[in-house]
């Protein structure tokens, strides 16, 4: 019997790191986006900062999604 324990371990570690990272980045983005209108009224700068932060987070997630599509579609390899 030849069970690839190392490969299984790798899958667990990589999936944990990447999966948790994406959700954390997206959650930070959602948080920034949701506090944005409140800050925008009298502290416009804070509002802009929140919007930019949210944008960066969503951009990072979009890039990871693109990498995911690249992995799924064999023609891109």
């Amino acid at each position: 019997m030849n069970i690839k324990w190392t490969a299984l371990g790798e899958v667990a570690v990589v999936a944990f790191a990447v999966g948790v990272a994406i959700v954390v980045i997206f959650a930070v983005g959602v948080l920034a986006w949701s506090v944005r209108p409140a800050a925008g009224a009298d502290r416009r700068q804070a509002g802009t900062l929140a919007t930019v932060a949210a944008g960066l987070c969503f951009l990072a997630c979009a890039l990871i999604v693109c990498y995911g599509i690249y992995l799924i579609v064999p023609q891109l390899h």
Binding site: M1, N2, I3, K4, A7, L8, E10, V11, A12, V14, A15, F16, V18, G19, V20, I22, V23, V24, F26, A27, V28, G29, V30, L31, W33, S34, V35, A38, C61, V65, G68, I69, L71, I72, V73, P74, Q75
Partner: protein
Amino acid sequence: MGNWSFLVVAVVITALAFDFTNGFHDTANAMATSIATGALPPRIAVAISGALNLVGAFLSTEVAKTISGGIVNDTLVTPSMIFAGLVGAIVWNLVTWVLGLPSSSSHALFGGLIGATWVGAGVKGVHFSVVTEKILIPAVASPLIAGVVAMTATYLAYVITQRGRRQEVTRGFRAGQIASASLVSLAHGTNDAQKTMGVITLTLISAGVLSHGSGPPWWVVTVAGTAIALGTYVGGWRIIRTMGKGLTDIESPQGFAAETSATTVILASSHLGFALSTTQVCSGAILGAGIGRRLAEVRWSVAGRMALAWVFTLPAAAAVGGVAAAVAEQGTVGITVVFVAAIAVAAGIYAVSRRNPVHAANVNDHPTTPIMSPSQASA
């Protein structure tokens, strides 16, 4: 040989029927949580999932070189055994569907083939060490890994967005769910449609219709892709309800965390060389998302029934496949008997399902589970 015998036609038809059940059995994997949280309306969700499964079928170029991935000795497998194995897999998929239980379609297919090979070619035709490596270990590992990732991700998602405005947070995660659910569907299409293509192509080769080493002809790719997409679109609403509403009450941050975790685990496993079961990964991720949110109730009785279905999938499909093989090996009459019996069983199960139909309109109602508390009944 070299022509379309009755047997070859029977294998192609049952392979497509299996592909169809594969599709509607697995719609829930990608779309259950999106439908449950309202990220996508039910009809739209299954339409997107079906379309992406079709796209995935055309994208997957690397069609399986062996029917079973080494679980049975392919040189001993005859077309009538493949036929019997497919019948076993279809019957088990329909039984678990009518019970609303997500179970792995690949395990059903492997189980059916194991049973059919065992009866048709003897126990030496089954490679039990490969069964351990490719089925038993992943069956334990898939839900565990996905569950831990989803639990951690869900917990962190709630902690991080605690101070955000609830309505905006819910909307944000719902939008994210559309992307994560779509990725699961695409990955599913590239993986599962090609299994059926492989079975059909290898049968055609063994019957001499195609030359050795040839890839699937365009019509095989088209009909296999269409069968799985149609199955997905028809939607296994019973299973969607179990996964979206039965296991735990899903909110949009949990749905996003569950789908994202499932996608990463599936992609990591297919690219680092340890194949995990999509169904079990997705179920594990939903459970993990349930545990990760404080005060969320996980209905362990539903999880328990699901786990029981997983344990029985392989032996049950093997038993049906074995009986079918014993009959089908008797020649054309035997194959006809199995064919008619399979259609009768499918019709019977469909008739049972009509007594308590689940469809797009009532998919988000709570299933009646023994432990349902009054607060959930009114929710």
